[in-house]
């Protein structure tokens, strides 16, 4: 949340921070202070939770007591439903910071015998507000009254009076409303609550559901107009307006080792830039994950934190597989330097993945992030969507100065070096690993297609995956890529780098002995 705010314009609305991650950013500081805001959405879209979080945050973070008037759920239900989120409503009620008033009307119990008004509701609400000196009020969902009270004309006039009265009281209110078929709310509440309208949505595309939020209207204030995905989990509601990021991240010239000495040598002798993004693409079984594991291992050994998003394998599988190439990730996990977050791509929609990953990054604050492999995300989104999502994710990581490595499964045809998601243009460094089949065996080779801002090697190097890990061979294969193999004697092919310098190749004892 941006703490620094522009010099307030004297005509600018007073804003009331909701304390809900993301919403305050989208609205430029919160919902209109001292005025009602309408939160509309279908059943199960998260209205009640969002409203309640607004109240609880008001109490716990902004010292603004609140009143929750529930027309649908009883106070006990409400308390129980949100206790899993860590909201201790009973405690807040005991501290006289919160009032929950459950309004119950059964239509069948009520007989209509003439003119009436809603003075009873006003008195109840007024008493509740005064009893805790509330600054925030939630009415959830007041539209229920339309189903239970007779004479819609009177009801509408009374609701208009109610919203006016809330404004006079100077409380910041959230009024929730059920989504209507043609209108924002079933009974057209948007007509009365005209200052700020937030619509929540719960959409299913390709059998994957995503919650979305949009600020439809905010009178007298700028606001983000996009639909933002949001998440409800054990921390409550979080919205990540990640689309608002700009290309303004600062570029540092600090280096991060790739975790493989030979590869560092190929990258100007130093490795990747800190805060840059690296794409490793290649066919199946070419060693992409191993390259990623080396990177993570190196970071953890330096005492940095690493976050590994696995879309194919479980953490246990990764640990076992990497042990076979001599990388032990387990101690890093035990020392809380490494978190492997494994998730099936189909578990959530793309936006939710993005949200979830961003959230984890914010919590864990890693120095390096690995996504393995990004191509699996195509299972849940169109290519264009995957690209847009990855763009936003890499922008976010860059802004946080996190070095990120993405693996991408490319078609086995070595001529086809298009990375499937077409995100290679976004990446600072692009490494291709390839299978070369020759003389009855498969050899692996690695080449650096690009690495922005550094003198990287232009050679194509063979490598082996040994029990000691990733081993780059000394000899670059010939142009044909076929005649070289581990059996060939070392020929003195000069490595030509862009600056024409000849680097010293690092060799391991094993290679020398060959």
């Amino acid at each position: 949340m941006p703490r620094k705010r522009p010099v307030p314009n004297q005509f600018e609305l007073k804003k009331c921070p909701t304390g809900i991650q993301g919403i305050d950013e989208i609205t430029g500081g919160g919902i209109p202070g001292g005025r009602p805001t309408l939160v509309a959405g279908g059943p199960g879209s998260g209205k009640t939770l969002m409203a309640l979080e607004f109240l609880v945050n008001g109490i716990t973070r902004f010292n603004e007591p609140g009143v929750f008037m529930a027309f649908e759920e009883t106070g006990e239900d409400l308390t129980r439903n949100v206790s899993s989120l860590g909201f201790d409503l009973d405690g807040l009620i005991r501290e006289k910071k919160l009032v929950i008033d459950y309004v119950y009307i059964e239509r069948s119990e009520i007989e209509d015998t003439g003119a009436y008004d809603l003075q009873g509701l006003f008195i109840r609400l007024g008493y509740a507000i005064d009893s805790v000196k509330a600054k925030r009020v939630v009415l959830d969902t007041i539209e229920v009254l339309f189903g239970s009270l007779p004479n819609e004309g009177i009801l509408r006039a009374e609701l208009r009076r109610l919203f006016r009265w809330l404004k006079e009281k100077g409380v910041t209110a959230i009024v929730t409303g059920e989504k209507g078929t043609d209108t924002m709310t079933r009974y057209g509440l948007e007509e009365y609550v005209a200052d700020c309208v937030i619509v929540l949505d719960h959409r299913v595309m390709e059998q994957i559901s995503t919650r979305r939020l949009r600020v439809v209207k905010y009178r007298g204030s700028y606001h983000g107009t996009n639909e933002y995905p949001f998440l409800i989990d054990r921390d409550g509601v979080s919205v990540l307006p990640i689309t608002s990021l700009q290309l303004a991240s600062e570029s540092r010239s600090e280096w991060v080792s790739t975790g493989i000495a030979g590869l560092d040598a190929m990258l100007d002798g130093k490795g990747y830039y800190r805060g840059s993004d690296i794409l490793v693409s290649g066919g199946a079984g070419t060693g992409k994950s191993t390259l990623a594991a080396h990177f993570v291992n190196g970071a953890c050994k330096r005492g940095e934190r690493a976050l590994y998003f696995a879309f194919e394998e479980s953490p246990q599988q990764i640990i076992r597989n990497m042990r076979s190439v001599g990388i032990d990730l387990e101690p890093h996990i035990d020392r809380r330097r490494l978190v492997i977050h494994a998730e099936r791509p189909t578990f959530w929609g793309l936006e939710m993945h993005l949200l979830q990953m961003t959230k984890l990054v914010n919590q864990f604050k890693p120095h390096v992030v690995v996504m393995d492999p990004i191509t699996n995300l195509i299972a849940v989104g169109l290519q264009a969507d995957v690209k847009s999502m990855l763009t936003r994710f890499t922008d976010f990581l860059k802004a946080e100065q996190i070095t990120s490595l993405f693996t991408s499964l490319a078609a086995p045809d070595p001529g086809l070096e298009q990375s499937q998601v077409g995100i290679s243009s976004l990446m600072d460094t692009w490494i291709i690993v390839r299978d070369i089949e020759a003389q009855g065996k498969r050899n692996r080779s690695l080449s650096i297609i690009k690495s922005r801002g550094m003198n990287h090697s232009n050679e194509s190097r063979e490598f082996r995956l040994t029990e000691k890990g990733f081993l780059l061979e000394e000899v670059p294969p010939c142009a044909s890529g076929a005649s070289s193999g581990t059996g060939q004697p070392p020929s003195r092919i000069r490595d030509r780098r862009q600056d024409g310098r000849v680097p010293r190749l690092r060799t391991t004892g094993k290679e020398k002995g060959r």
């Binding site: 008033d101 309004v103 119950y104 009307i105 119990e109 009520i110 007989e111 209509d112 015998t113 003439g114 003119a115 009436y116 008004d117 809603l118 003075q119 009873g120 509701l121 008195i123 109840r124 007024g126 008493y127 009254l145 009270l149 007779p150």
Partner: protein
């Protein structure tokens, strides 16, 4: 709070204990009270008690009986509890609401 006492003992199954919720002496409240008094005298003479609750004086009581609309008449006894909202100007509806419709018809036939 003021009581309009009927004389019958409250244990009587036919005894009506009624509560009228108002908010100050508004025209609607006064009308409701006048209408109620008239209907009770006509149909429940001697078998009722009316309690008037002014929510302006006792705002907490609005919660107990789930009062939103004013005026609201609550039939506490005989059970089940019934609620009647409005100024009670529609006598027919008041009688239905109080479940007196059948009673009064029975009385006439």
């Amino acid at each position: 709070m003021r009581n309009e006492e009927g004389q019958e003992p409250e244990e009587d199954m036919d005894f009506f204990q009624l509560r009228l919720y108002v908010a100050g002496q508004t025209p609607k409240s006064l009308a409701a009270f006048a209408n109620l008094k008239r209907i009770c005298e006509e149909h429940l003479a001697g078998r009722y008690r009316i309690e008037i609750i002014d929510l302006l004086e006792n705002p907490t009581l609005a919660k107990g009986d789930q009062i939103l609309a004013i005026p609201t008449l609550v039939r506490k006894l005989p059970e089940p509890v019934r609620k009647i909202i409005g100024d009670l100007s529609n006598t027919e509806r008041v009688l239905i609401g109080l479940d007196l419709r059948r009673l009064s018809e029975k009385g006439r036939t």
